[in-house]
Amino acid sequence: MLELLVILVCIGILVSGVLAVWLSNLLAAMISAGLSSLFAAVSYVLLAAPDVAMAEAAIGSGLATLIFLYTMRKTDGGREP
C-alpha cells in the first residue's frame, strides 16, 4: 500500500516536472513546478522524513513559486515584445 502510494507520488513529481518544462503558458508552468515540489514534500512524509518535508513544502512550493510570480509580474511575463 505504502509502496503504491510512493510510486503514485513519484509519477506525480515526474508529470508535473515535465509539464513545467512543456507548458508555454508561464503561469501554468510556474504552478506546475510548485506542484512537483509539493509532491516531493509528500514523498518525504511517506518516506518518514517530516523535518525535510516541512522545509520543502514551505520553501519549495511556497516561497519559490511566489518569487517566480513576482519576477514574472516585474518582467513582461515571457511575452514576445
Binding site: 523535518d51 516541512m54 522545509a55 514551505a58 511556497g62 516561497l63 511566489l66 518569487i67 513576482y70
Partner: protein
C-alpha cells in the same frame, strides 16, 4: 541539433542513474553511525527528536554555514533589488485592483494560525518534527500570505534586519560560550539538560532553535518583500 544535444544529455543522466538504481538494495541493518545517533542522541543531548539534535549540536557548524548562505542570499537580493525600492513603493501600492474579498477574509482567519504553527514548530524542534529552520520557513510563508492578501501592508526592513543580526550574533555567542564552559563550539550543554521530553530541556537546543527560527523567518521575509516592490 539542439534537440539531439538535449536527448544526449538525458541519455547520459539515464546512464548515470541506471548504475545507482541497479546497485540499490534496501538496507537490512543500520549503519554504525546511525546506530550511534539513535541510541546516544536521546541520552547525551536529551532530545527525543534525533534529527534536530544532530542538526543543532553534532552538525551545528554546518547549520551555521547554512544560515550564513541564507544571509548572503538576503544581502545579495538587497543589493540587486533594494536600491530602487523607495520610489517604486509609492507607485506599486496604488496600482491595480486588490485581492478579492475571499482571499482577504481567508487570510485574516488563517494568518494567526500559520504564525502560531511556525512558533510551535520552532519551539518544539527538539521534541517533534521541525526545528528552527523549518519553523522560520513556515513563518516566512505566513508573511508571504500577508503580502499577497494585503498588498498595502509594509514590512519594516530596518527592524527585521536588526532582529536578524541580533539573532545571528546571539547564536554565534552561544557557540563561543560552548567553547568556554562546555565541550566545544556550539555544544548544547551550555544549559542544563533538564527533564527528558519537556519543553525546556535538551540544553541550549530550544534556545538555538528559537534564534535560528527568528533569523530564517526574518531573512526570508525580507527576500520576498524585496521581490515584491
Amino acid at each position: 541539433m539542439k534537440r539531439v544535444c538535449a536527448i544526449l544529455a538525458v541519455l547520459m543522466f539515464a546512464a548515470m542513474f541506471l548504475g545507482l538504481v541497479q546497485a540499490y538494495s534496501e538496507r537490512q541493518a543500520r549503519s554504525p553511525l546511525a546506530e550511534y545517533y539513535l541510541t546516544q542522541v536521546p541520552r547525551e543531548l536529551g532530545a527525543p527528536n534525533v534529527v534536530t539534535g544532530i542538526l543543532i549540536t553534532y552538525r551545528g557548524f554546518d547549520t551555521l554555514g547554512e544560515v550564513a548562505v541564507l544571509f548572503m542570499v538576503a544581502a545579495a537580493v538587497g543589493v540587486l533589488l533594494g536600491s530602487k525600492k523607495e520610489q517604486r513603493a509609492k507607485t506599486s501600492s496604488t496600482d491595480g485592483k486588490g485581492p478579492s474579498e475571499l482571499v482577504r477574509t481567508g487570510a485574516e482567519v488563517i494568518l494567526p494560525l500559520i504564525f502560531l504553527f511556525g512558533a510551535y514548530v520552532i519551539m518544539n524542534g527538539h521534541l517533534s518534527a521541525g526545528g528552527g529552520f523549518q519553523g522560520g520557513a513556515v513563518v516566512a510563508s505566513g508573511v508571504m500570505l500577508l503580502i499577497l492578501a494585503m498588498p498595502a501592508s509594509k514590512l519594516d526592513h530596518g527592524f527585521l534586519s536588526v532582529t536578524e543580526s541580533l539573532a545571528g550574533v546571539l547564536y554565534v555567542s552561544i557557540g563561543i560560550l560552548g567553547i568556554i564552559i562546555a565541550d566545544g563550539f556550539l555544544d548544547s550543554h551550555v544549559l542544563p539538560l533538564g527533564k527528558f521530553g519537556t519543553l525546556l530541556s535538551a540544553g541550549a537546543i530550544p534556545l538555538i532553535s528559537a534564534l535560528l527560527g527568528i533569523k530564517v523567518g526574518a531573512e526570508l521575509s525580507v527576500v520576498i518583500d524585496r521581490f515584491r516592490s
